[in-house]
């Protein structure tokens, strides 16, 4: 074991030496040649720091305080900058989460590909270009001979991530670190990228460390999985064993996240909000095209689709941030003004929104108290003690301790806590309908599960209706009563959750469903096969 990479008792620290903040403690990792190790954990678990440490690299202000990192007989913890420079790119490569941010936008893909081989002297310019084309082909990029001559902004996110992987393979490294490479991609794109990454590492026998928070994804890629928490290793097992019989309670709790499911709604509910032939456009581009939709009272309607399918525009039209160019929006049968400025206060109260990025949805200069007191006072007219009592009540609704949190500023909260405050702010208006725009997509699975459970409970207690916009089908399965599938600004399929998940009528819906990562090891192969079939079906019909 560990004949390529051996990390022993690694300790990383940040901050002042007298009172250090421990990033990693007592970490042991072993990696054989050609082996793929998955590192799983919530954000802040130290998995990215561990991945970078495997390259002998630490982030600014972080230092290696103990332990050793042996890479093929070289001690990376004590290697000089020069030694590391010769290794990086040549023998150890790194694929970052955001390929768009990692490419230099001013140079063509193939020129950036050639930088590594030229620098390390493994190929001349001509050979590097030929190799780039070969690797682009192996990564199943469309038009592999020409795509390298494009600039990063001219190709899609999934293609860029594959070009990045091809670039990392340029010097045929012994080890690649993948740091959440598919987190920013749509599920359907993710399959193609994962498949291509797995093929290429297998083909060249490259060892890899695959960092992610998504267990289903890592179970497709890794031979062994290490679960991390608070900078420590929780459990390491071969993938199959980890999936079937995790030992630690924490690991089991990670597995259980996908278990929540809201009981199915019974009977029919009258429509609360109706769209009739609603279209919307940005400077001539039709983002919404003749939407007819009825959102039932007390139910959760999930709107699903890839990015660019028009689901966020739909939310904007309903909220009144964007006026429909054609058609209209009805609230309990009465037409709603297109622009929020023309809606009355009762209508503004009834429709509230929870945003994807709680970071930008809350004013960072306000305290939690200020954030909540204003909408409470504004909408309900409560003052003084009554308003304070209502704010505390809201805090209890979202399960945050008022004593502890009311006087904190927004930046002092964690991602999940911020999202809870975002929910409390929406609840402050005592709304009847809440638009949830990708509310869990910026959060870890465990935190996201807490938010979803909270939303389900609030719906039961307060009789709220939700429109839940998401690209994550696991979330849909957990929370939705009705599902609406969108593509290119149109609704292509709508129905009850059970019907959509069990008997989807459209090929596109089937492909979307098949793209959701599953926890069994054979999923990726099946999904790739199905996706290819579904695509040819869509093309045919």
């Amino acid at each position: 074991m560990g004949n390529l990479l051996t990390i022993r008792d690694l300790r990383l620290e940040a901050g002042p030496p007298r009172a250090p903040k421990v990033i990693l403690e007592g970490l042991d990792l072993d990696l054989d040649r050609g082996e793929v190790l998955g590192l799983v954990g919530e954000s802040g678990a130290g998995k990215s720091s561990a991945g970078l440490a495997a390259m002998g690299f630490t982030r600014d202000g972080v230092r290696i305080a103990g332990g050793g990192i042996q890479f093929d007989g070289i001690d990376l913890a004590r290697a000089s900058q020069g030694q590391l420079r010769r290794l990086h790119g040549r023998r150890i490569a790194y694929v970052a989460q955001s390929a768009a941010a990692s490419f230099n936008p001013a140079h063509r893909l193939i020129d950036q590909f050639a930088e590594g081989p030229l620098l390390h002297g493994t190929a001349d310019a001509g050979a590097a270009r030929d190799d780039a084309r070969a690797l682009y082909r192996q990564m199943q990029l469309p038009n592999p001979d020409q795509i390298g001559f494009r600039y990063p902004h001219e190709v899609s996110g999934g293609q860029l991530q594959r070009a990045m992987t091809a670039m990392a393979m340029a010097c045929r490294p012994d080890l690649i670190i993948f740091d959440e490479p598919t987190t920013a991609l749509d599920v359907t794109t993710q399959i193609e990228v994962l498949g291509a990454m797995r093929d290429i590492t297998e083909r060249y026998g490259t060892a890899a460390i695959y960092i992610t928070h998504d267990l289903a994804v890592v179970s497709q890629m890794a031979d062994r999985i290490t679960v991390m928490r608070h900078g420590r290793e929780v459990e390491t097992q071969p993938t199959q064993r980890m999936l079937e019989a995790p030992e630690e309670p924490y690991t089991r709790s990670l597995w259980a996240v996908r278990g929540i499911q809201k009981p199915a709604a019974t009977g029919s509910a009258p429509p609360l909000l109706t769209l009739e032939g609603a279209s919307a456009q940005y400077r001539g581009f039709k983002a919404l095209d003749g939407i007819d939709l009825a959102l039932a009272k007390g139910r959760t309607t999930a709107v699903v689709g890839e990015s660019g399918s028009g689901k966020s525009t739909l939310a904007k039209v309903i909220a009144g941030l964007m006026a429909p160019s054609e058609g209209r929006v009805l609230w309990e049968g009465a037409p709603l003004a297109g622009h929020h400025g023309k809606r009355d206060k009762r209508q503004l109260r009834d429709i509230q929104m929870i945003y994807q990025m709680a970071d930008t949805a809350l004013n960072p200069r306000h305290t939690v108290r200020e954030t909540l007191e204003r909408p409470v006072g504004f909408f309900t007219g409560l003052r003084g003690a009554a308003r304070r009592a209502r704010v505390r009540e809201l805090m209890e609704l979202i399960e945050l301790d008022p004593e502890e949190f009311l006087d904190r500023r927004i930046p002092e909260l964690s991602g999940g806590q911020k999202q809870r405050i975002g929910i409390a702010r929406a609840l402050a208006a005592e709304p009847r309908f809440i638009i949830c725009d990708e509310v869990t997509s910026a959060l870890d699975q465990i935190v996201a599960e807490g938010i979803l459970k909270l939303l389900i409970r609030l719906q039961e207690e307060l009789g709220l209706s939700y429109m839940f916009i998401t690209h994550d089908l696991a979330t849909v399965e957990a929370i939705a009563d009705e599902v609406v599938v969108m593509k290119d600004g149109q609704i292509i399929e709508a129905g009850a959750r059970a019907q959509i998940f069990e008997a989807p009528r459209q090929a596109y819906t089937r492909r979307l469903l098949a793209s959701v990562p599953q926890m069994d090891a054979g999923w990726l192969d099946r999904a790739r096969r199905d996706a290819a079939e579904a695509k040819s079906l869509e093309a045919a019909g």
Binding site: Q352, M353, M357, T360, N363, F378
Partner: protein, 271 residues
Amino acid sequence: MTVLRSAPPTAIFGLLVLSATLLLGLFAPLVAPYGETEIVGAEYLPWSAAHPLGTDNLGRDMLSRMIYGARNTVGLALLTTGIAFSIGAALGMFAALKGGWVDQALSRMVDVVMAVPPLILALMLLAIIGPSIPNMVGVIAVIYLAPVFRLSRAAAMNVVALDFIGAAQLRGEGTLWLLRREILPNISSTLVAEAGLRFCFVFLFIAALSFLGIGIQPPTADWGSMVKENATLITFGDVTPLIPAGAIALLTVSINFIVDWMLHRASGLKS
């Protein structure tokens, strides 16, 4: 107090000089040995016990005029900067929030002001409306309003794009609330840092206008005109006229120290 303890020595020096100047200016009649325009002896008397900095071209006590000068020059600079900032920042945020033609109209007007060199614009405007203290304050405030507008507009644009502004608008909040409670707190550190810097410019501008004879009018004491009044002495190798010039320099440097420190704090308390 904890804030002050973390301040670097340069900032503490700056704060000391600034507060000393402000105190001297505030209590000028109590501190100054003679009156502001009182003729106490012969012209250009050398430094002595009775007149620590000698007398000026009309035989007025130099030290007393320095002290009164602090009051006039610094006080007017503060007033002018205050006016330029309150109007400029408010308009800038308003333009960023409203966008569209409001933004276009305000921005183009500001562009016109910025297109003319400030000194020439000030000379021209003061020549038209006549040199007096209220006129000078008004003209300089209008000139310095332009860059403040641009800065506050640019800073506010970044804030306006964030979701919490959308959330407040969806709630039905009025423009005043959006400007004061949602945008201003997020750009105030930038504005405060800029205000320190602008204060220096305004201060130097007033001194320059006074030196040119269209700023603060005689016999009012002011550091800029004091350099001019006593400039003859330089030919005799006397350093006295350099004292008001030195005071201007010292105050400018001090304020810059404070501003640097504030900018550093505003950029996020990192190392």
